[in-house]
Amino acid sequence: MYAGAERSSICYTPGITEHSHGVDNVKSLANLAMLTGQIGRPSTGVNPMRGRNNVQGACDMGALPNVYPGYQVVTDETVRDKLQRMWQAELSNNVGYTIPNMMDRLIDGSLKCLYILGENSVVSDPNTHHVVHALQSAEFLVVQDIFLTETAQFAHVVFPTACWAEKEGTFTNTERKVQRVRKAVENPPATRADWEIIADLGKRLGVSMDYQSPAEIFDEMASLAPIFAGMSHTRLETGGIQWPCPSPEHPGTLFLHQGAWA
């Protein structure tokens, strides 16, 4: 039925991914779609429905151990050269640690410091006791959050931040659509937007992060990541755009892998 239909689509969520075989489950689905040719056309494909409002955006921006913004792999020398020139910094070409990996390394002492942003690891990571033990083992723990969460209780330094309605920026939804988010209410006096805190920290550590607005950060990101090259906050004012969007005239991409998959 799935294979024989004109257009068949797969939808999945963490019901199959949050297992020790999660990767195999997803690969099986991708294989199935490719085997049967149910990909690269409208109303087909492999469609994970993301769990939180901007989890797609976080991955797109390189909040993963193995890629820079726009899924440019860290081990690629040309990517590394380009980013090193732009950021005027020396970048490692090693793949980073995953979260469970970090927790293990905090305990064995090979990781000393952890900076957690907008994540309540004690509640959301697997094996709570292990996570608590790891966070207690950290030599220095920084937590940036809107609440003093269970995780923040273990922190040496807590940065209070503005919540989603109190800051400018973009969220990317599960269909790869980048959408503008606008400041609706003033943030409490003691809090600041995440980007302001990070930029200030960067400056104190000697990195030039002299940004004036989220739009400026977005433009820098778009200039470095080809799949976002055609996007800007100005363009997003008129509506969300689905990546890849390689040029300012490009309308965005409704479905991936048309014609070929690499």
């Binding site: 689509s9 939808c11 199959i16 199935l32 469609n47 599960t174």
Partner: protein, 141 residues
């Protein structure tokens, strides 16, 4: 997602795996209901009886009977997917026994699960429920 959310409404066959869509993604589930109304087949693979499988699915794989016979259901998503893939390629048992993911895994459970595979084949192939005779067993090497 490789595709866009509204495209779900125009699909001819929708395979929903490990997702309680009406609860976790209610807006996307509306597009699924729309697809069903447009005549799409809906296959739900999930160990639970969820709203999607009770109300609108054509076939729910992971029925109570299947899961009751194979406790520890989470390991069995991949076999189900392989089953569909093998059905398509015509090699129904090609690599069921040799996948690395089963290494050290619950072989016995898998063997029990295999009892129900032919039944699923029949259900998928004919689009009608299989006759109520004892299912044959795929031998695992």
């Amino acid at each position: 997602m490789t595709n866009s959310i509204p495209e779900i409404a125009d699909t001819d066959c929708l395979l929903v795996v490990g997702s309680n869509t009406t609860e976790a993604h209610p807006l996307i589930s509306r597009w699924m209901f729309q697809a069903k109304q447009n005549g799409a087949y809906l296959i739900v693979v999930d160990p639970r009886k969820i709203q999607l499988s009770m109300r609108i699915c054509t076939f729910g794989l992971g029925s109570e009977r299947m899961w009751r016979s194979s406790t520890g259901s989470c390991t069995l998503y991949s076999p189900t997917i392989f089953t569909i893939a093998h059905l398509w390629t015509g090699e129904p048992k090609a690599s069921l026994s040799s996948r690395s993911i089963y290494k050290g895994g619950p072989r016995k459970k898998l063997r029990r699960f295999a009892v129900f595979l032919p039944r699923i084949f029949v259900e998928l192939r004919t689009c009608t429920p299989a006759p109520n005779d004892p299912p044959s067993v795929i031998r695992l090497e």
